[in-house]
Symmetry: D2
Subunit: 343 residues, 4 copies
């Protein structure tokens, strides 16, 4: 059994991580810390866990976390940076679901997140936890930076094309839409039911924090610089990200369907759908699966890639558990093989 | 392993049954029949099952179903009646999720369902599959009639009070609300997104088919005749039933909280919430749990009971699997112990 | 033209009042005050008003409000109490959408609202603004206390029965459900999209502030004391209240349909639906109409009344405008005769 | 008063047209025809109209329609083609909300709509009813082809850029999302609440009927051929279209904000939002307003235009009424000046 601790877990990523770990046959949940909720039974905050979990939130404490084999951070950015060094020093592995260690260029991180980085010396050690790209590096990591929700879908969608240099890397468009859990569990007027329901809008058009992460990841894949126009939108649903990606083909002879099927043939959590099919976000609700379709409308030179994932699972906690499985040499799908809840 | 067949399974009860059985460690899915969809892979109809299930729907066929240990019917009423006798004759146990064998009085069944009953001789053999009331009978059954979704919540809610004769049995009110999956997967204008969303209404006020089932079940519990005013409503959500029950106390000295906690102390799928708590339907989404709270507003003589369940799980397929576990002497919670998906 | 001022208007009742008054042919909007938003154009807060309204919020100021013929309060409880006396003293009429002057018994008000009443001497002067009951009193009022959203629907629903003494006044049940705008525009976790959507629950079961208002109004109608069990629920929609009312008939010979049709025959905003019809909340979205149906299920002695209204219109701002029309001797439907927005 | 007839009106475009015309001070509704619903009061089909409209649907009949000054067609494609010639011959003006007369090239129409065109000789006479482009031609028209919902938003969004030749006309991307009313009021499984809610997906990626209309309109504006990649998506809301448009700037010195503000300065139904603002579909619900924002993310050469409209109003019935106002020399905003319903 793997002894697991969680720092944070008072948000939606946290409750989803708990749900997944409770169903994982090789995990023993040991410690769940929260400064604001210390002393409260976790199931009081998340009523779906009543009867499934007896733990209460405890004060953050390195000694108790250090008894774990691995600690997940399900915290806002800035928190992991300050606590990770102590844990690593005591031999605990860390899987960070926040943005703290995703960006290699410290200056870029500091510009987009608006604060000094707390552990710049650790950034180079962090492995970007996208198994479809970095599986081998994850295996030996001590600190894993889980990708953001949007970046996961955008990178998986463009991956086969950029790896092979088949599209113009300076003309990439990522038009994405996310469920409201992506905005977290903060009490803000903008996130009220009465503001989000019956509505749809873009946001962050001038610049979203996931843009530098997306461009870093795609540049790694392409082996050269890329330019992405990224426009996120807010959906009146709880879970799900749908990315509609556009690129300009440099080589119009490529068999796109075959390219995608072959690239992801051995990936347990990427489902390339049959030609002409349309991925729906509800088909991955609660599941770690990412479904992808690829089109070339009117036979013109634009390729359109559709990507659906659950932002809380493949876009966050599920991907973290997938990395944990790799890290501890378990079957990669362990605890992650339930079908989505539909409808 | 238990070899399982399913008749029907093209509706929402069906896809939920498949999801639960796929996660059940002692089940082997052998046959899924559907006259209308024969030949089509099941995962083509329900995209959440892609990668989890290779079976295709087959034509209804007694010989192939007879190779199973148990056959579930997830069909509209009227279908099981015609096919069950052959299966029972060949030693197959049957768990019927439809209304065909729920009502013991054939005349009442025929009146409410508007057609002659196809197997009246089997009705007396059928065990009403509400484990909290009929666990021992289920253990030895060959034909289980799973309760309706509303009747499950109303019976569990009134159970402790009626068993003890604490309320007026002629003054029971069941005000209930269900998600839209309760109306099935039929192409009707009334069920369109554009008709159901942003809306709320009562229906079936003059008489709903679950009324005679509710009254039969409550009369069994009370050991005398009962009268229920039952008003169902349609919620603009997919899953979940919330019943708000009202009764007039005959004895105002009873400790309601203790009564409920004691009655359900050993029930794995009934959660009596702490005094003052409010059950939410989202806290049971995808789960077989039924959560109950009991109130006595202003200390007057009316008791108010709140009951939340997932209509597709504890209200249908999950309850069927629970009965299957009892029938085959498995741990009652096997395959049913995942927390709800929240949010 | 009537010169109108508004105090508050930063919530949903406020924006709905603005929408209605902008479409009212006899209204000139003069002043809209808000301490928190002073200086900000109103249309910056409510984007639907862009191009329709040039006013900015101003600091609360008696002198400018005193230039108005009538001032609406769209404020939390407690605010109107402190500002109304000055306005009345300067001859301005006041229509208060808050709870400050609804309850005649000061002690009861103070108990339920948890604070001392700021203008107890004015309470006796306030007219309870339910036109279907108090039309003549409204005509001559200087201070109108608009009914709460739930109390409007519950009182209209029970009105014909209690006026005639046809039901047991000690056995009334009001099971109601409201859209999320009823909880206001406050930044609370409980009101987030991610908490309210895909969900349904009761709340305030032990005691809701609308209970004493309901019981006071129904007692006035019945001419004797009444007892109501009131259970509100939260719907995952923005607008709409649906009340399902239960009462025990004392006289089973009454023609309920005729009773309701006759009582409301001349009421422009109460629509008694044809026998067997079901009112839907979407059929009144954005409209001041209240739709009612009456049933007697199974011919037993329980009567079931269904009532649908828009909580922001007939349940708040529209009813206030209706009272304003009465007060200024205008046609009662002026500015209120648009059909609901459907779907 | 203008005497108005409507053919069809059993769908959502129809009920919205009725709502708008009932509030129009210069309109008398004379005839509403429907073959399938003849004899039924219109308010029985659309409960929001109870008390507002006494008309019943009548059988389609040229003589009665010919008594009108103008007849709207709110029918599926193919119907207007067969009935319009008779009405025009009798001097009645026609405003067609369907697709029958939108495409000038008959072969293209027949290819995308899969049937022969019934009145090819009238196509050249039809005026494309987009007032922001064709106001003068609408004024003298006898047959107006109202634009489709998506084409309205896409054309208004690209208009200022293409008129001035500022972007590459062969690299236009229109990523759009529509509420479910866009799919009509047809009883199809795909349109059920249980299929659309909690979901988001693209559709028609390989080719949507609005593509040729969009390309025709944009080519007219640009004065040359254009190529558009158009990907529509289905939103789990009732009303609203949001288009996110992408183009490549040829001239990076242009002041985009000023360009848009100047182009639409005199347009009553196009609202260019302040720089940095984000149009929300709820801000136009029930309104004829179209709100537009323009961005140039990261100062690169891609321009992003955001457009929000109500698909049933500016995208259909409201735009038809706007054209009617122009046609009959009424103020263009008559009957169309209500603010949107929010929330």
């Amino acid at each position: 059994m793997i002894n697991v601790g969680i720092v944070g877990a008072t948000g939606y990523t946290g409750v989803e991580l708990l749900r997944l770990l409770l169903g994982h046959p090789q995990v023993a949940l040991k410690v769940i810390t929260s400064r604001s909720e210390a002393g409260k039974p976790v199931a009081d905050l998340f009523p779906n866990l009543r009867g499934h979990l007896d733990l209460a939130f405890s004060e953050p404490d390195v000694d108790s976390l250090a008894t774990c084999d691995v600690v997940f951070f399900a915290t806002p950015h800035g928190v992991a940076q300050s606590q990770v060094p102590d844990l690593l020093a005591r031999g605990v592995r860390v899987i960070d679901l926040s943005a703290d260690f995703r960006i290699r260029d410290i200056a870029i991180w500091e510009k987009w997140y608006g604060q000094p980085h707390g552990s710049p010396e650790l950034v180079a050690d962090a492995v970007y936890g996208l198994p479809e790209v970095n599986r081998e590096a994850i295996r030996g990591a001590r600190l894993i930076a889980c990708p953001g929700c949007y970046p996961t879908s955008v990178q998986l969608g463009f991956l086969p094309l950029l790896e092979k240099g088949l599209v113009d890397p300076h003309d990439l468009i990522a038009n994405a839409a996310s469920g409201a859990t992506g905005a977290g569990r903060q009490a803000k007027v903008d996130n009220l039911f009465t503001e989000v329901s019956d509505n749809f809008k873009a946001y962050g058009v001038g610049g979203h924090r996931h843009l530098p992460e997306i461009e870093q990841g795609l540049a790694d894949i392409a082996g050269r610089d890329v330019k992405v126009t990224f426009v996120p939108h807010l959906l009146p649903i709880n879970r799900g990200i749908h990315s509609t990606l556009y690129a300009t083909l440099l080589d119009s002879s490529v068999d796109l369907q075959a390219l995608y099927e072959e690239r992801f043939a051995n990936e347990p959590f990427v489902d390339v759908m049959p030609a002409g099919s349309l991925p729906q976000v509800r088909s991955v609700r609660g599941s770690n699966m990412c479904r992808i379709s690829v089109f070339r409308p009117q036979g013109r030179d634009k390729v359109v890639i559709l990507v659906a994932e659950d932002n809380l699972v493949k876009g966050a906690s599920g991907q973290g558990v997938q990395s944990m499985n790799i890290l501890f040499d378990l079957p990669e799908t362990l605890g992650l093989d339930s079908p989505a809840l539909l409808p």
